[in-house]
Amino acid sequence: MTMSNAMNDSDSTRKVEPGIKLTPEQQRARRSRSIAIGVALGLLAILFYIVTLVKGPGVAERPF
């Protein structure tokens, strides 16, 4: 439903949210993607933190 259609359909007192109205399936998919990205970024941050502790002062030294 477009925003203009929504405004036509509603009465003048009802506030219309701007933007696209997601279907429940799209909302579920977006939520699952957001959680996955959040978990992945969190794990990456933890990984960098632990490796920094493990490598200690030599964290910038890499064997070739």
Binding site: T2, N5, I20, K21, E25, S32, R33, I35, F64
Partner: protein, 317 residues
Amino acid sequence: MSLTFAEAELAVEQGVDPSIAPSIAGARDYLALMKPRVMSLVVFTALVGLMLAPGHVHPVIGLTALICIAVGAGASGALNMWYDADIDARMARTAARPIPAGRLRPGEALAFGLILAGFSVAVLGLLVNVVAAALLALTIGFYVVVYTMWLKRWTPQNIVIGGAAGALPPIIGWASVTGGVTLEPVVLFLIIFMWTPPHFWALALYRKDDYARAGVPMLPVVAGDGATRRQILLYTLVLAPLGVAPWLMGYAGAVYGAAAVAGGAVMIALAVRILVEKQGFRASKQMFAFSILYLFLLFAVLLAEQMSGGLIGYFAT
């Protein structure tokens, strides 16, 4: 970015420009894009390379290397599915993958694959070492560009040359510890490299129609069953002695030697049965199934010997 029909219809209903329509792809679809089963085999062979390598690596660094290799393999899978979506849609075995099934757009898969590839190589280089990162980049590039984009649709030797990408993980695992490459991981590479053609040609023999419909020039489609059956035997005759090489070279024990000899003998027997069978595909199906067990067995015994040796050494000191 192309949309599936259902998504385009939904976008029109929502009054949205189809090019920016919200996606219906969930985390599971992205996980499927990474080919988790292939990824697990890649991680396993990389782990063996990592464990066999001389020297010491901190467990956290070793785990980091394995995670990066797994993500790099996932990136390769995603980029492969992006490029091969048209082929996947025409094959029964792959029609249910996220892109042909309409759950995920090709552009989403491309972006996902590129981001994972970039992150996996960069993190491996930053946290482990540059040689391993370069090898991972080579593996991803070889699989996506050389195999997927070039060889797969062009020559029946596609899986022979392309198999190099699947054979590299033990070398990456080894390089993660040593920062270099020596003959031992190269032998592991050669075992997987020589294993790949008989394994996939055995499958291609009884899936020939599927490949023909998709326009993929697999050996049975182009050269016929007879030539494929002969090629399977030839490659297996090279593979079986190669499988024993780690024992002969002294970096695998007697248990490995026995497993490699027995497994190699069964592989040759199955390859001969495929050649003799002429009609039907019973032996091909057996070869396909056993070849997975054979490769797993070789690497599992290598790993078990290494771990048991380490434990014995630990308790002896």
